[in-house]
């Protein structure tokens, strides 16, 4: 097969382009999970909230939670900023109003029931589930108590029953899911005397919110909080001041939590699958290294021993030779000495004979 230069370059160019644009095409796709059709939600109009705490009271009752220290009619509680805990699924906080200093702003806090919940994506036993009604519900029977959900939640909502020794659970607002299934309103919504909370289909709530902003542009910030935050939430908020001023994070972006973590989490199964192979390979390699090293060592030892032996033998032979030579020399010396002595004796004997 012959490939012309031109064709080859074209192929290479094509391959380069496809790698360059592949990811972009994915990012620009208009596929985004916008929640189940007809999913429900609640619109909290903070400009209407009067901070009466009726919602907190109702939440406490419908969820059979323990009575707090101070009664719900006690409004001085609002002077301190509070958060949700294992015995409180919702709190109302009071904030200074930069527009009208005399009229503080009240904001109800509870689980926002994200369309794609961070808690659910962080949970490796699937204890959290987004229902088609809109509520994010929790299954205590599978929960292992790792509390990753609490770390994952950008709104600081899930709480843990630290005071329970045997069966602690993660707790948070359920959007009154059991009541929704019975056709009832969430407890807080039903109790709100000023309809600062509106319950309905999320799509309808967005329409209502947009209409309120259109009608009263001076009253509202032109933004529906929760429409896109973290990919959208089932609870929506209308505010008269910048959301940041009343403690709502504006740095969350519009990407759903699972999308943010999917890249990193997708590596997990791969790591889990490849780990044994890796370890076995590593083991085999290290084993082989050990074997070679042992062999080399043995060889070296024997070589050294042999060398030493020959050296010693040579030395011994030399010593023996030397000794033999010395012995011979000594013998010859002794012999010579004896011969000389004998000769001298003979001379004397000759002299004596002469004399």
């Amino acid at each position: 097969m012959s490939v012309s230069r031109r064709k080859f370059l074209a192929w290479m160019g094509g391959a380069g382009l496809s790698t360059a644009f592949g990811t972009k095409a994915y990012a620009a796709s208009n596929k985004q999970f916008k929640g189940y059709p007809d999913t429900m939600g609640v619109l909290h109009d903070t400009t209407l909230c009067v901070g009466c705490r009726s919602c907190e009271d109702a939440c406490n009752k419908v969820n059979n939670l323990p009575q707090p220290e101070k009664p719900f009619k006690e409004l001085s509680v609002l002077d301190k900023t509070r958060r949700t805990d294992s015995k409180t699924f919702t709190v109302v906080n009071k904030y200074d109003n930069s527009k009208e200093p005399k009229n503080p702003v009240f904001r109800k806090i509870q689980c926002n029931h994200c369309l794609e919940p961070a808690c659910a994506s962080a949970c490796f036993v699937n204890a959290f589930k987004k229902t088609k009604e809109g509520a994010v519900v929790y299954d205590a029977s599978v929960c292992v108590g790792c509390r990753y959900c609490m770390v994952a939640c950008p709104f600081n909502i899930p709480a843990y029953e630290y005071d329970k020794v045997l069966d602690p659970k993660v707790v948070k607002c359920t959007m009154c899911h059991p009541r929704l299934l019975e056709g009832k309103l969430p407890g807080c919504v039903e109790a709100c005397p000023v309809e600062a909370l509106t319950f309905g289909k999320r799509e309808d709530l967005l329409k209502i919110a947009r209409e309120r902003i259109r009608k009263y542009p001076e009253k509202y910030v032109n933004h529906i909080y929760g429409e896109n935050e973290m990919g959208g939430t089932s609870w929506l908020y209308l505010t008269g001041v910048a959301p940041e001023e009343i403690g709502m994070r504006e740095d969350l972006g519009i990407t759903p939590a699972p999308n943010l973590t999917s890249g990193a989490l997708a590596v997990v199964p791969m790591v889990a699958g490849l780990w044994p192979v890796f370890l076995t390979g590593a083991y085999a390699i290290s084993k082989r290294k050990e074997k070679i090293a042992a062999e080399e060592q043995a060889e070296a030892v024997s070589k050294a021993v042999a060398e030493t032996n020959t050296a010693a033998e040579e030395k011994l032979a030399k010593a023996l030779e030397k000794a033999a030579k010395e012995k011979e020399a000594a013998i010859q010396k002794e012999v010579k000495k004896a011969l000389e002595e004998a000769a001298a004796k003979a001379q004397e004997e000759d002299k004596e004979e002469d004399a």
Binding site: G200, E211, K215, Y216
Partner: protein
């Protein structure tokens, strides 16, 4: 060795003495100044003059002008100690009128910003020399080292804009025996001089702009736009005249910053008991029309919309300046704002010039702003901004004409027509007689938790009526008996027997009526929002309306 130790000890002691003495002297001198520093003042001037030459080497200087004026006054010195006389370069009537006043340059010890080094030297030389002189005379003085002036200051400027309202204008014209030419002038292009033209007086700001470098498009070709900003012109002329008057030991206006720009001082300005109307041959009533004559095809009026009779005199009474409406000149609106828009009118069409909401320059816009008064906003806060006005509300201004008026239209006597229309108008608000207004409305919808809520219905109506009784504008627009009722009884035709709230508002969150609150929401939103808007403190809390069971 011992000698060396002693030397060090003495040097140390001397340094300590020097430091302590500098600190104490400094503390004494600035004791008063630093006390003032934490306050907010109207006379804060930030000296950052060198910025015009590029950059600042050191932090800008916060200069308290009135502190200096007071200190110089004590020594018998006046403005001339720091400001040089500036000759008026434009000849003409104004120069003669202000002759002998010597307007002073607002710049410190110079007339022009010549060069970086020169300007810097002027400040350093004169400021430090004067401070040193005063120090030598053992007088309270200011800083002489770099860091004492060039530092960040905590003093906040509370300077309020100053302007000439109707009251001040009247007091000036009275004091100056109606010699308008002493202040008002215009530029004669041919003679190249300032002239006074009687009955052509206008606001200073028409020609002396806030920023003469940013001339609006419609005024680009105007020879009248002055190089002097409003700030420069007013500080040159007003203060000079005040100084001259003070020199004559006559009652004069302020010369210090706080005199004009301090909110407290502004509140203390003498108010003339009766303010006479300005005399500029302005009309009492005007027939506001497009000025666009259509060919008379036999129909009466020969214009598309009925012209509006406008009460110029009463609008003068209820506004502080002419500028409120006549924002660029004292001509009639349609001169610049033509039917289809033009460059002179900044392409704002005549219709918009009258009807635009969200500005204080149009009729409707200004009327809407008036509705923010707590007396009005209880009802008006619920009304959608930018809504399409109901047809009957157009007729409030574009009135239907009676046969008598029609005859005047034919004759073309606009003034007579406007006067006739004005006479036919009533500005007295009216509602139904007490007998037709229920005294109490009992709301029993929260009887499970509380006692029934009693709404003092008639008292509310009477209070609302009383609130607008002395307001001519409100009176005019609430002439019809049922208008006041519509604040609460909205969305249904005017009637003495309007539908009950529960006729429309019921179960909340109706999918078919997304925007309609439920009954409890409707009650609470309406009552509580209105009470909040009207700044009513009672009833407070849930039990203010719903008594405990």
């Amino acid at each position: 060795m011992v000698k060396g130790k002693m030397k060090f000890r003495w040097v140390g002691i001397l340094i300590i003495i020097f430091l302590i003495s500098t600190y104490c002297i400094g503390a004494q001198v600035f004791a008063k100044l630093s006390k003032d520093e934490s306050k907010s003042r109207a006379d804060v001037i930030t000296i950052d003059t060198l910025k015009v030459f590029g950059y600042l080497e050191k932090p800008e200087v916060t200069f308290l002008h009135d502190v200096h004026t007071d200190a110089l006054e004590k020594q018998g010195k006046d403005c001339l100690a720091c400001h040089l006389p500036k000759s008026n370069s434009i000849p003409g009537v104004f120069k003669e009128a202000v002759a002998g006043i010597d307007p002073l340059s607002p710049k410190f010890k110079r007339l022009e910003d010549t060069a970086r080094k020169e300007v810097m030297d002027i400040y350093h030389k004169f400021c430090i020399d004067c401070h040193n002189d005063m120090g030598a005379q053992k007088l309270e003085t200011g800083p002489v080292t770099c860091g004492e002036c060039h530092k960040e200051s905590k003093t906040v400027s509370s300077r309020q804009p100053a302007g000439m309202d109707k009251n001040l204008h009247f007091r000036h014209s009275k004091a100056r025996e109606k010699k308008c030419e002493q202040c008002h002038h215009e530029f004669n292009e041919e003679k190249k001089e300032l002239v006074y033209v009687k009955e052509k007086e206008g606001s200073c700001r028409y020609c002396h702009l806030e920023n003469p470098k940013e001339i609006p498009v419609y005024a680009k070709d105007s020879a009248q736009i002055s190089k002097l900003s409003m700030k420069e012109a007013s500080h040159l002329d007003c203060i000079s005249c005040h100084r001259k008057t003070i020199a004559k030991e006559m009652d004069a206006g302020p010369v210090k910053c706080s005199g004009c720009h301090d909110a407290e001082m502004q509140a203390k300005f003498k108010k003339a008991e009766t303010i006479e109307r300005m005399e500029r041959k302005q009309p009492d009533v005007v027939l506001v029309s497009t000025g666009d004559k259509l060919p008379d095809d036999g129909r009466l009026g020969n214009v598309r919309m009925n012209a509006v009779a406008y009460n110029h005199k009463s609008h003068e009474e209820s506004n502080d300046t002419c500028r409120v409406c006549h924002h660029a000149s004292l001509d009639k609106c349609s001169k610049c704002h033509t039917l289809s828009g033009s460059k002179d009118g900044d392409y704002v069409k005549l219709e918009k010039a009258f009807h635009q909401i969200g500005t204080d320059k149009s009729c409707l816009g200004c009327h809407e702003l008036n509705q923010q008064d707590p007396k009005c906003s209880g009802c008006h806060v619920f009304m959608e901004k930018g809504r399409k006005q109901a047809d009957e509300s157009c007729l409030k201004c574009h009135e239907n004409l009676t046969p008598d008026m029609m005859n005047l239209v034919k004759s073309g006597d606009n003034t007579a027509l406007a006067e006739k229309m004005m006479k036919a108008r009533s500005t007295a608000s009216e509602t139904y007689p007490d007998d037709d207004i229920p005294e109490k409305v009992v709301i029993k919808d929260m009887m499970d938790k509380y006692q029934a809520a009693e709404l003092p219905h008639r008292k509310i109506v009477n209070t609302l009526m009383k609130n607008i009784s002395d307001n001519k504008m409100a009176g005019y627009f609430h002439r019809d008996k049922g208008t006041i009722c519509q604040g609460c009884h909205h969305n249904s035709p005017v009637s003495t027997k309007p539908p009950k709230c529960s006729s429309c508002h019921g179960k909340p969150f109706d999918e078919n009526e997304l925007l309609r609150p439920g009954l409890m929401g409707a009650y609470h939103q309406q009552c509580m929002t209105c009470h909040k808007e009207m700044k009513l403190e009672k009833p407070a809390g849930c039990t203010g309306c719903h008594k405990e069971k």
